[in-house]
Assembly symmetry: C2
Homo-oligomer: 315 residues x 2
């Protein structure tokens, strides 16, 4: 059992470096003092037990990884270079110290991968496990914003949609066929932050805007487009092959399932029609998704799709 705040800080200090080029004064004082670039991107995301994850099928390592990964994904969508993060940890007394060590060791490994400093945070008792991460990084010269595409522009996608949701459903159902869907399950438990992709795309002048798809394309596409514009999806749009048997077994439409998605952490981008070839050349992971049109709504072959995405308050 974890006995005191000091005990926590010991664990954290044993796992996260005390020294980092970005961190002039580290953890342990009232504030960290940070060496900052002129423009910084900043974001934060909650990661709460039984809302965003369950300890039944998330290992401590998965929890530590994903709490940080979903925050990194926001930086990826801004084309930012990760620098540091803060962790607010709500800790239920019944969890063992070992759980905490494993969870934070996994978070530390991901932080190391992107060379970011844990600069501080807070820890407190609570009735269930919760992590609130705040993250920041250097901003690219051009801000990668939403609502910057125009009718005729290409919409593209890096990463998969629907796959994480497929994994979530299987995990929730405790499906006996989990082994067949390892990729989907992993996509839910361990989404990969597309930091490198975000950096490449923000450096590409033809890319007009970028966003991370966390609530599903159906919900996020309208957020990405201006209110006076809409989307015509590629009629040859392919869903991930795993969604085919998954949806067949459940009598669902694979495309609708993919578009509804949720927690995809894919990157959605807009780009001039002429420029898309060059974008794909330097980042083949970017797939053609469709085009921005001057008609609000999401259409495919002229037919309006009525889909509703994921909102924690409506579930």
């Amino acid at each position: 059992m974890i006995k005191s705040e000091e005990h926590f800080l010991e664990i954290i200090d044993s796992l996260f470096p005390a020294v980092h080029a970005h961190m002039l004064v580290g953890r342990g004082d009232d504030c960290a003092v940070l060496e900052c670039p002129e423009k910084m991107c900043m974001s934060s995301d909650l990661f709460l037990e039984d809302i965003h994850f369950r300890t039944r099928y998330f290992s401590p390592e998965d929890i530590g990884y994903k709490a940080l990964a979903v925050n990194l994904s926001d930086l990826a969508a801004a084309g930012a270079s990760p620098l540091g993060f803060g962790l607010n940890l709500i800790w239920p007394g019944y969890l063992e110290e070992e759980f905490c060590r494993r969870m934070l060791a996994s978070m530390a490994a991901l932080a190391r991968e992107f060379d970011i400093a844990l600069t501080g945070g807070d820890v407190s008792f609570g009735s269930s496990l919760g992590l609130a991460v705040s993250i920041w990084g250097g901003s690219p010269e051009r801000h990668m914003l939403r609502a910057r595409g125009n009718p005729g522009d290409v919409l593209f996608l890096a990463g998969e949609v629907g796959l994480a949701r497929c994994g979530l459903v299987l995990l929730e159902e405790n499906d006996p066929e989990l082994d067949r869907y390892v990729q989907a399950v992993n996509r839910h438990l361990r989404p990969e932050p597309l930091i490198r992709e975000g950096l490449v795309l923000s450096g590409h002048t033809e890319v007009k805007g970028l966003m991370d798809v966390s609530d599903g394309l159906a919900r996020d596409l309208p957020r990405f487009c201006r209110p006076d514009t809409g989307v015509e999806l590629d009629r040859d749009l392919k869903v991930h092959p795993l969604l085919i048997p998954f949806c067949r077994d459940r009598k669902m439409d694979p495309l609708a399932f993919a578009l509804l998605g949720g927690e995809d952490y894919a990157l959605l981008g807009a780009c001039s029609s002429d420029g898309f070839g060059a974008v794909q050349k330097c980042l083949p992971a970017c797939r053609f998704l469709g085009r921005i049109t001057d008609r609000p709504g999401i259409y495919m072959e002229g037919k309006k799709l009525e889909l509703k995405g994921f909102d924690h308050f409506e579930q």
Copy 2:
């Protein structure tokens, strides 16, 4: 009732300005983009229902105020100039929209007072109300750190200790004499962030270190001093007059109670012996607390005081 994430964002946007000199890109995108000074101070604090506050005696306005105020207090201790903050809000479904509006309006008023921008955050359902604020500001040239004082240096205090704890005890007991102790109750519900004091002190070259006293002097003094040093408290140390009747009624020692304190949000500082007069001249609120000695522990008139402060994990 609050129905959706959008509903939340509407409330937030109606209360917090969308434009601020510090905020190049505001809320509503994946990241905020911030115009940053070269050195920033960064901190965050959790503020959780039934751990840090109770809705029985905290009004929504008190909650919104204090969640931000305790974070500002960390910046005060760093001598930093507040710039912006992020809010992660855990919202229990049973609370009314009006509660949210009142809570956030009060937070917005405090943000306005210190001219800081709410740059983003996250919101999610949860079983009880919780606020995780991250805050940052421009760092002073000299970092105001702990463990910088030497034996012989003066320790001083701006703000009261013990008073907030007195208020907490009365509120918890639902004491019929609450009206006699309005000042103590207010100190618990609405601690004043000593930002101006922190700025003045960090600009004063004789001030060697600064810290905000949030866990009580008994616990925070050893954190403020180096392990090889200790404290000799002023033998004429005065406690706040309200603590005298409060402790008499409860057969407690007022000095011990003041030193144990908790959530004082006073500023503790160290300063050269010769320089203290000048510090007091420019900030009369700074009171002589004692001196740093070369003997670890907290002493008064040569006698070691055995006191234990406040730790959420030991209560």
